[in-house]
Structures are given as C-alpha cells and as structure tokens.
C-alpha cells in the first residue's frame, strides 16, 4: 500500500537552523550562570605511578579558590558506565594513575588565572611504576600490571572467543586460505566544541542542574548520581547545543562528574571546558586494534569460514572497549555469506588515554581488513572484484553464522548501483596508470539491544496553552538533525503542520527517559516512539473531544490540526482552541526493541529487528612521485530503509565519508611514551575543505516493515565502508596492499620506492659532521637518551610555565628598541602573534613582557628603494600578496607566500614573524624537556620517537625542520635582513640569519626591521614548490627556486629547501649541476638526483629523500617549460 506522506521524505532544513547560522544557539561553552566559577583539572604527568601523597591545602588557601577536590571526595567510588563488571575507573585518581593526563584533582575558582594558580599549588608525590603502551607488550609475561581482573590474566579487561559452525572443518576443506594482519592506531573524534560541563548545585533544594556536551543525558545523569552519591531525582540534565558528538561525547561522564562535585562543594555554579590539548590527551578517542583475519574459500569462491584473532587497545580504563570487541566479531561473522565463523578477541589495558568511542565503533577498520581480503581472494580466483562480491552478498532470508536473520536486504542492489555509477565495468576494462577503483560493503544492525536497560525510547508530546506542541526527548541532537526527524515523525503521525512543534531535547526533568544518541539508534528507536506518541496524542484529543461533545470517540476525527465530529462542520476545534478548551496535556509514547539481548559473551543471536546495508565505490589517483592520493570520485549507495529527511541524511553521509577519508589517509594520534604529541588541529591531520572530493549519493529504499515508517538506522553507515573502499582503490592503483592505517603519502611513496627503486643516493659521508651524528644516534637507545633524559630532568632549564605577561605597546620604533634593551631576554616581540600566543600556551615561550610592535608604521609597507624591494618586517603576508609591487617585481614572493597557513592567519601574520617563528616539532611543542627547552643536557626526542616530519639533512642536536615558507623563498631571492637595537642597525644575509640548529642570530635586544629583496639581476624563472597535507600546512618538503638564464642556458641558479633541514638549506649540489646547462630532461634528472646529497635521515623520514627529489624535479621541469628557447 502506497502511503502518501506529508512530512516523511521531505527535504526539511533543521528546526534550529536559524539559531545556528546566526550564532544564537547556546552550547555548553556559552552557558553562563550567576556567580559561575571556572573549574580546572590537574592531570597526571606520569603514565603509571603510585600516588604517595596529595596535598590540597596550599591550593585551598589561594585567593579566589572555592573548592578543591580529589578522588576520595567521590563517595560513590568508580564509574559503573558499562556495568559493574567493567568498573575500573575513579572520576579522580585514587591511589594510582595509569595514563598521562589522568584526572588527579580539580579546582574551582572565581577566575581562570586564579584557578591556574591554585592548580599549580597542588602537591602530588608520585612513585613512578613501569608502564606499557602496546597490547602485545601488555600481554607479555612479566608485563607491568595495569589492572588484574578476577578470572582473567593480567591486563585483560574482556576476552571473547567463540566459533559458530565448524570453523576448523571449513579451513581444512578450503581450496584457498588467505590470512593477514591488519592494524591501526587511534583517531580522535575532534568535536569542534570540546567536552564541557556547567554544573549548578542549589544547596537549599539539593538539586544539581547540569548542562553538558553529552550524547546520552540518561547515562550521564545516572553516573553523576552514582559517583556523587546523590538521589537520581536531584540530578537534572538541561538542554543545550552540542558542538559535535561522533561518539566523542558518548556515555562516559568525565569531565561532567568533576564539574558537578566542584559545584556541590563550592555551592556555586562551575564551568569546566577542556582546552583543545586536554581534549586530545584525555578525551574519548577511538580504540587501536590489531586484527589477524583468516578466510577459507572454496574453489567456486564461496566463503567457507572466517576467523579473526584480535586485540583491542583499551587504554588505561574501560569506557566503550566492549563495544569494540563486539563490532569486530559482528563483522567477522556477518559480512557477506560465510559458512562458519569464529573469533578470539581480547580487550587489553595499556598505559594510554582510555579509548572512548568514535563513529562506527571499530567497524570501519574490521571492514577494511575483511574487504582487503575479499579483493585478495578475487584476485586469486581471477574474478572481477565487484562480480565476486555480488556472488557472496548477503540476501534476504539468510541466517548468518552468528544467528542474524536478515529481513530486507538491499546489498546486491547497492553493490550493483555503486558499480554502475562509478563506471566499474568500463574503467576495469581500460585501467589507467596510477588510477584505481575500490569497492566495499557493510552490514549494520538496525538496531539491537545493546544495554542492560534494553533498548527503549520515550517521546513526549505536550499540548501547551498556546496550541503549540512540545516534543520532549532525552536524546541529544549533536547536529544530526534528529530533533527535526523526530518532529517529522510526530507531525506525520498527528497530521499537523510541523511548524507548530517545538523540540526539547536532553532535558531529564521535562523530557522522558531515552538511552541517548549513539549506535545509530535515534531514527529507528526514538523515531518509533515519536510515532507512537503522535498516535496517542490524536487518541487523547479524540477522547477528550468525544467527552466534550458527548459523542462516541469513533465519531471524532483529528486531521490537519483540526479536531471535529465527522460530517459536522459546526463542531470543529483547531489546536489552539482545543488547548484553550481542554487545557494543556502531555502524553508519552514508548518504543522497545522487543528482541532478546545477544549473548554478551559470544554475541550470538538475532538481536536486531533489521539490518542495514550499503556499498561504496571509490576511484583514486596516486601520484607515484610523492605518494599523494587524490580521490577522483566516491559513490555511496545505501539501504537504510525509507529516507525520512534527505537533506539531513545526505549531510550525515557526506560527513561520515569525509571522516572516513581522514581515517584511511591521514588521521592518527601519534604517541610518545603513551602521550599523544600531535595535540593540535594542525599536527593532527583533520580533513579540511581542500580534501573534499566529488561525492555522489544514492539510496536503495527497502521500506523495512520493522522500522518507523520503513526506516533503518544510518548514522554510522558512511564511515564504515569508506576506509575499505579507498584502501582497496589504492591497492588497485599501486599494486601494493597496506596493512596499517592511515595510508599516508609517506607510506605509499616508501612502498613504491622499495618496489620500483631506485632510492636516491643520500651519500651521508659527503657531510663529515654526519659521522659524529650517526655515532651519537647509534648510542641513543641504550646510553645517550636515558642519560640525557635523566640529566635534563635534574639540571636542564625547566620547560617554561605559562604566566600572564605584561603587554607594552610602543608608539615608535625608538620606544620599541628602548623597551627591548630594558627587558632583553625576558621580553618577546609580538607582531602578528599567531605563533607567539600559541607557543605561550604550549610552554614554548614564557616572556614576562610582550612588546607589541603591530602599531609601528615604520615596520609596515613595501617600497622600491633603488635596486631592491624593501618590505617591512611587520607587513602582513596578505599585504605582501596583494601589493602590485610584489607581483610586478618578485613573482616568487606572491606565488610562494600564498602557501602560508590560512586566509585568517595570513591577514594577521607578518613576514618577520614567519621568519622568526619557533619550530613545530611535536616533541618540543608537547612540550617535552628537549634540547630546545633545556639546552645541551637534554635529549632530542625525534631520534627515537616518531620522526616522520623531521629533518633529513643537517640535523645534530635538534632535528626540527625549518617550516617557515618565507625562509627558503628569501634564500632563493638572495634577500638581506636589517635588524636594529638602540646602538644601531646591522644587515644580515638571509643565509646567515639562522644558526645551524635553526634559531635566528637576532640578539635579545634586536628587532628585525626590514627585508630587502634585490631586484637585479632578474631571475626569469621563480617558483615555490611545496608538499604538505594541505596547501597551508607546514611543509613536509619544499623548494624555492630563482633561475636566471643566459639564452637557453642556466646562468645562475639559487635553490633552497624548506621542511627538510633545521634551516632553509641552500641546494648547492643541485645548483652546481645546473649552471651552464640547458634544462633538458637528463640535466634535470641529474640535478634533482643530488638534492639530498649528504642527508642522514632519521628512523621514519627517509621517504623525504625521494619526496624532495620529486618536488625538485617538478620545479625544474616547470623551469624548463619556462626557459627561453
């Protein structure tokens, strides 16, 4: 029966769109309460340590401090998040800390500076314990014990193993067995609004009101009441905007509970908003996994059996780890038709940030592993990868080894449609070099009983006095438009205009219980509750009107917002009239997933009413010279049942797909000693707008009878297939399979060079200093690093603490120089401030005085002075880019400097600031007590740590590369710099401006005034070539070139590298190879081939050598094109 829908299937803008585009929606960050305090959390500096003593008294005595708390203050003890079996974590540490960044104590004070000062006064004495950071290490004999749970070996939080069907027989009878190990690290959800809480305790009533970024107010409230020892009814979560969820604000209640206890103790409202770094080091990350997947295949291609052995890295405590155990076993047993299936999964403790949850809950990566194998099998069998998938696709009526009974199933249609739309057949027949196609499928329960509470939802509908309807739900709209979708459901069921519905989400006092926004459950479960509520609402109106008019309720109808007696035009009332006549009333609709819970030990059982499917095809192009992947096109086709709101669903799909692109190509938390070091939105490679490819979406609408109006769940669908499809496309393009994520350009280029060769000669002996460096590096692991680390901690200059500097604003250049003379090393000059202020937060700079020179007109502007261009050091990058003088006389400046950062930063940052910025090494910025902080007594962390971004040439004590794009550009242009102090001016050649370790030669009392760029002789070819994640990102490698031709022959060449050495290194061997030659192909090959002469790469960055060669080649090829004939 075709039903005509009024609201379902409509492209509706989200109900809160106006509030969002005008900035009026109040997020937790924006909530203020009278007398609100600022809360801060003291975090563990150690990965594993015993707390010997904790002294809060000095902090309590500090001015403005209203509450100081520690673990013992939580009377309820540990969180019970995943049930008592998994309880292992206190809101604030008790006795032991088990990861760096763990919450140890917390302070609430009148102001942020007061809270900071108080935090610094908390004295904690630790006894450091051995720590372990990998699952393999944690499972080894004699590993440090992080947790020992009853009935399990040490460091195991959960062990789940089962076999469904005769797995052993399947493998014994297989014609083909493929086996592979796939692993990946943790990605971070990156909600743009960090986790935050505002808690307001009223001592008179004992009521605690809470505004918090949480996807599940129901669970957060329960947990708060539990750990604080409050009655559930006294805790009320209120509604607020949520700046992103993706699992990152799922059940786990830190820092919420901490803010709550601070408020209870202070008897004042308290806000805690994590800063971006805290969000990285102690937020809720995805879980790292290692998965060994084996598949048994019959000669005709049938999958006889699949077996997965896997470790999930739980981090130091259990939050959502068990859901990850479940995600892997579900895909192992259910994706494609498989005869028998088994698994052995261990959730393993390590001394790292506890895993939380992230979109897909581990499914994207296990699907990647399985789909990689499906490709491998198809290749073995000599079959087309798409056709093969169709032959093994799940079908309606199937029962999987895990007991799932598949009802509606659009997988075949999804695969077929995705193949057609990407042009699979045609492109497979005519493959292009370095282009590749990939396809992947997925299956997702829609949705099962995940919680001990079951899986239920309530939606309330309240007719208010003014005739408007308030829809109440305890789910939390993190941006998914779920509030709009629930209103659509209710409006459809009631047959009213959707404009008369308001939605109140999250509010635990005024909206009924619901398990929250996770596991793609809201559309499916809460949606059904909204329909039920709508039906009850209409029944209630009819009942009341029947009594009013003294007729049989069956005689009363309610259509299009008007109630009346059938066939009687006199007795009709609209909503406002009904509200006025019958008073406000409220009904609550409930929906339960009436399914048995799957066996919690093995996951066995048909536990979801429906299963969603999808297929995603990707076409990529790999640049074999740099390893960069360009996504040509993505086609996603999904069976999500009926589409309720296409505009919202498309947005969900786009967002999930781009998150999947991030996961497969670039995103990864990089750890050092258990601590994430890439804790900024630059060093953590979150996808930006340049990474958005062409995405085409289609939906196979199967209208599932179990779903609300035929819908199935969908939120996690898109990311689940994206990772696998792109990885398979990369394998297709390169012929190389990658078994770790993310598949970065570096990994791809490394693999291509290893296979195809030749690796460009580094010839480290050409730089004699390398001998000394190599010897030191050889001694690093066992001798030098431990010794320097110990020594540095004892005698090195400590990493600077953040203090509030005084700001001076000179009104003239001479005043500025006098200030510099007076304050010297205690002062920092601030121009744009875009590096300085960030560095101050990170502990890179700690000036007592800031001298703000941005107002000095002497330092701004561009002019021609004789035969050079004078650029004020305080001129913004944007001003240089837009100056006609730059474009007309020095095209390299305009073309090259446009690679710096982002529009906003170029509008603020100055040329002098770019040249003088500090290094971006993630160890230095963590900050680790390295050579740059502590001096010669401290080690360089890049020698043993993750050195993928570091220098390959010229690095000694410090391996941080020069990332100022202006530096190599000005070297190529032969610029000179003018600096001054009160005693006078001096001129410095750009090549003399940096010391070998990369610091500038400016004295503490010197100010950089101008940059002089010579205008003659004119280099006809000027170009800046850079390789970075995105245009404005810091360079992995860059080359600036200025070439003067004499006829077709190179008369003079100045080339300089960025991103590969501690300073902008002049490419002398390349220049020498070019002088006097025409830029013919062999000359270019020869010149580019010596670009890395004298390099001595670190463990992880040898790939920068072929990368540098590639961009030098590219640059010279462009020069050849532009050379005079």
């Amino acid at each position: 029966v075709t039903r005509h829908f009024r609201h379902i299937g409509r492209r509706m803008a989200s109900l809160d769109a106006d509030e969002k585009v005008t900035g009026q929606l109040a997020y937790t960050h924006d909530i203020t309460r009278p007398g609100m305090l600022t809360g801060l959390i003291l975090r563990s500096p150690h990965a594993h340590a015993r707390i010997l003593s904790l002294d809060l008294e000095a902090a309590r005595a500090m001015p403005g401090v209203r509450a100081v708390i520690c673990g013992a203050d939580f009377v309820g003890g540990q969180y019970v998040n995943f049930g008592p079996v998994y309880a292992d974590r206190y809101p604030l540490a008790v006795g032991l800390v088990r990861h760096k960044g763990e919450e140890v104590a917390a302070v609430a004070a009148d102001t942020l500076p007061q809270a900071r000062a108080a935090l610094a006064m908390i004295r904690v004495e630790y006894e450091i314990l051995p720590s372990v950071f990998s699952t393999a290490g944690a499972l080894a004999a004699n590993a440090p014990v992080i947790h020992a749970k009853a009935g399990l070996p040490p460091n195991i939080a959960q062990h789940s193993a089962a076999k469904f069907g005769d797995v052993d027989a399947a493998f014994a009878s297989a014609a083909l067995v493929v086996k592979g190990t796939f692993s990946h690290g943790a990605v971070a959800p990156i909600c743009l609004e960090t986790n935050a809480v505002v808690a307001d305790f009223d001592a008179a009533t004992g009521i605690l009101q809470v505004w918090a970024g949480t996807q599940a107010p129901f669970f957060a409230r329960k947990e708060i009441a539990h750990v604080l020892g409050l009655e559930l009814e006294k805790v009320i979560i209120r509604s607020s905007g949520i700046g992103g969820g993706f699992g990152g604000k799922s059940q786990s209640p830190e820092p919420i509970a901490i803010g709550c206890l601070l408020s209870v103790r202070a008897r004042r409202p308290v806000r805690i908003a994590l800063d971006r770094r805290e969000e990285f080091i102690a937020g809720k990350t995805d879980h790292a996994k290692t998965m060994t997947v084996s598949t048994a295949v019959a000669a005709d291609g049938r999958l006889l059996g699949r077996y997965t052995e896997y470790h999930v890295d739980n981090g130091a405590y259990t939050l959502m780890g068990p859901a990850y155990i479940s995600a892997v076993r579900q895909r192992t047993c259910n994706l494609y038709r498989v005869g028998a299936a088994g698994f052995d999964g261990k959730l393993v403790y390590t001394n790292k940030v506890p895993g939380g949850s992230y979109r897909g809950m581990g499914a994207p990566q296990i699907i990647w592993a399985i789909e990689s194998q499906i490709d491998e099998i198809a290749r073995h069998l000599g079959r087309d990868r798409l056709e093969y998938r169709l032959s093994i696709a799940n079908q309606a009526g199937d029962q999987t080894p895990m007991g799932w009974q598949i009802g509606t199933c659009g997988l075949t249609e999804c695969l077929t449609e995705a193949g057609q739309r990407i042009g699979w057949a045609e492109k497979s027949r005519n493959p292009k070099p370095w282009r590749g196609l990939g396809i992947a499928a997925m299956i997702n329960p829609s949705v099962g009983v995940l919680y001990p509470e079951g899986n239920f939802a309530h939606v309330s509908l309240e007719l208010r006095r003014d005739g408007r309807i308030l829809l109440g739900t305890q789910t939390a709209d993190c941006g998914t438009s779920q509030n709009t979708v629930l209103a659509q459901y209710a409006a459809e069921a009631m047959d009213v205009d959707i404009g008369c519905i308001d939605v109140l989400h999250m509010d635990t006092e005024n909206a009924p219980d619901d398990l929250g926004s996770a596991a793609s459950r809201v559309t499916f479960v809460s949606g059904a509750a909204a329909i039920r509520a709508g039906e009850m609402f209409v029944e209630e109106i009819c009942r009341r009107l029947a009594m009013r008019w003294n007729v049989d309720p069956k005689e009363v109808e309610f259509r299009d917002g008007v109630g009346g007696v059938r066939g009687d035009n006199a007795r009709r009332l609209d909503l406002a009239e009904i509200a006025a006549a019958e008073g406000p009333f409220k009904i609550v609709g409930r929906h339960d997933i009436h399914m048995p819970r799957a066996d919690p030990k093995t996951g066995y059982g048909h536990y979801a009413p429906a299963y969603g499917f999808g297929a995603l095809a990707a076409e990529v192009e790999v640049d074999p010279a740099t390893g960069a992947v360009r996504i040509v096109k993505i086609v996603s086709v999904q069976d999500m049942g009926r589409v309720i709101n296409p505009i919202a669903l498309e947005g969900q799909m786009h967002g999930g797909i781009v998150q999947g692109i991030g996961m497969v190509l670039q995103e990864e938390l990089v750890f050092d000693d258990g601590e994430p070091v890439n804790t900024s939105l630059i060093s953590y490679k979150v996808p930006r707008i340049s990474e958005t490819p062409d995405i085409e979406l289609a939906f196979v609408e199967t209208h599932d009878p179990t779903g609300p109006f035929g819908a199935k769940a969908g939120g996690e669908h898109p990311i689940n297939m994206t990772v696998a499809a792109i990885a398979n496309a990369i394998t297709d393009a390169t012929g190389i399979q990658f078994n770790t994520l993310p598949i970065t350009p570096g990994k791809i280029l490394n693999a291509i060079v290893a296979r195809d060769g030749p690796r460009p000669a580094a010839q480290p002996w050409r730089r004699p200093y390398n001998l000394e460096v190599a010897a030191a590096r050889a001694l690093y692991p066992d001798v030098l690093f431990p010794a320097l680390k110990r020594l540095g901690e004892k005698v090195g200059r400590p990493v600077k603490g953040a203090a509030q500097p005084e700001m001076l604003v000179p009104d003239s250049l001479s005043a500025a120089l006098s200030m510099l003379e007076l304050h010297g090393p205690d002062a920092k000059v601030m121009a744009g401030g875009t590096d300085l202020q960030v560095g101050m937060k990170q502990g890179v700079y700690a000036p007592r005085t800031l001298i703000d020179i941005s107002g000095l007109s002497e330092l701004r502007g561009i002019s021609i002075e004789g035969d050079y261009l004078r650029i004020g050091a305080g001129t913004t990058i944007s001003a240089i880019l837009s100056s006609p003088l730059t474009a007309g006389h020095v095209p390299l400046l305009k073309q090259g400097l446009s690679h710096i950062a982002t529009r906003q930063i170029r509008n603020m940052a100055t040329l002098g600031g770019d040249l003088c910025q500090e290094k971006r090494c993630w160890f230095f910025r963590a900050p680790k007590q390295c050579y740059k902080h502590g001096g010669a007594t401290c080690p360089c962390y890049a020698v043993l740590g993750d050195s993928r971004h570091h220098s390959i040439m010229g690095a000694g004590r410090c391996a941080a590369p020069c990332v100022a794009d202006a530096a190599p550009i000005l070297v190529a242009l032969g610029a000179t710099l003018v600096a001054a102090n009160t005693k006078g001016m001096r001129t410095i050649g750009i090549e003399d401006f940096y010391r070998w370790s990369g610091e500038t030669v400016l004295q503490a009392d010197e100010l950089l005034l101008w940059v002089h760029v010579p205008l003659t002789p004119v280099a006809q070819f000027q170009h800046f070539e850079k390789f970075a994640q995105w245009r404005g990102d810091f360079a992995e490698a860059s080359v600036a070139a200025a070439i003067r031709f004499d006829g077709p022959v190179v008369a003079e060449a100045r080339l300089s590298f960025g991103g590969v050495a501690p300073l902008p290194m002049r490419a002398s061997p390349v220049e020498a190879a070019l002088i006097g030659r025409r830029l013919l192909p062999d000359a270019i090959v020869e010149a580019a081939g010596c670009c890395a002469r004298g390099a001595l790469p670190l463990r992880d960055n040898a790939v920068k050598i072929p990368l540098l060669q590639a961009i030098v080649t590219r640059c010279l090829a462009l020069a050849a094109e532009n050379s005079p004939a």
Binding site: A17, T22, G241, I242, G651, V658, I689
Partner: protein, 169 residues
Amino acid sequence: LKSLASEIHGVQDASTLGIASINGAEVVLYGDPGRPVAFFLREELGLRGTKIGCGSGECGACTILVDGVAVCSCLLPLHRVRNASILTIEGMASEGLLHPIQTALKEHGAFQCGFCMPGMVMSIHALLQDNPTPSEQDIRDALQGNVCRCSGYVKLLEAVRSLCGGATS
C-alpha cells in the same frame, strides 16, 4: 548593543583602551590589552556567537571581520581593535532577517552541529566581499582555515557556489 560595555561597566577610567565599533555600535574597550578579542566579545559583551574551537587560530570558529578583513579573534589582542570597525556573526542578520549567506547555508543544509557556522559565515562574507565571483579554488582557499567536522564540506561548497551564481573550477 549601543555602548553596552560602558553601560554595564560604567566608565573604565584607568583600564579603558579606547573605543571600537562592533556591529555598528560604539563600544568601550577595557581590561587587559593582551586579552584576545574573542574572549572580550564573549565574556564582557555577551556576544557568544563567536566560538572558540581551539584558541590557537587553527579551526576558524572565532573568525570575525576587523575593518573588513577576516581574522582569528582568539589570537587578536584587544588593544589592536581600538578605533576599528568589527563585524561579528551577531551583525549579519538584521531585524530578524537572515543574511543571504545564512539563508543559503540553511537551505543547503550546509552544517550539522553548527559550532563552526559563525566563523564560516564570516569567512564566506569576507570572501564574497572581496571577490563576488570566486573560482572553486578561491572558495576552497578562503575556507581552508575553517574546520567543520560534521558536514564533509560538500553542502557548504554547494551553498557558497549558489551565492556566486555557480563557480567554475
């Protein structure tokens, strides 16, 4: 908003840093001259539409226009906006009517959680002010500094293209 700060806080004698025009209203600037403008807007003036996503100039949620130029207000010291004309998200819609940029973003469903929106609106405004017919590359370059984790930027790009009559790549 007229002279909001001076009304609330009275005359800020010693700590007065001068005045600025914020969304067309004259406002007294006061307090620590090094305090980032974003915090002054949010905490002193209650203009909480300007969001702080990172505090380090890396996400663009705090983008405002100072004398027509898009900057990260989380890195802009307060004293630098003395006598400047500032436009924040609160100055974009007038008398309850959405700005055409806001309408386009809404109609295209260009956002989800909405936290990036204020900064995104301001960056788009700065772009179109300087260049009413941007190329695809111009659009992507102008919005490179604005991180959105929800949308994948697809509908955002569609919305911006619709504002300039469909850009060519």
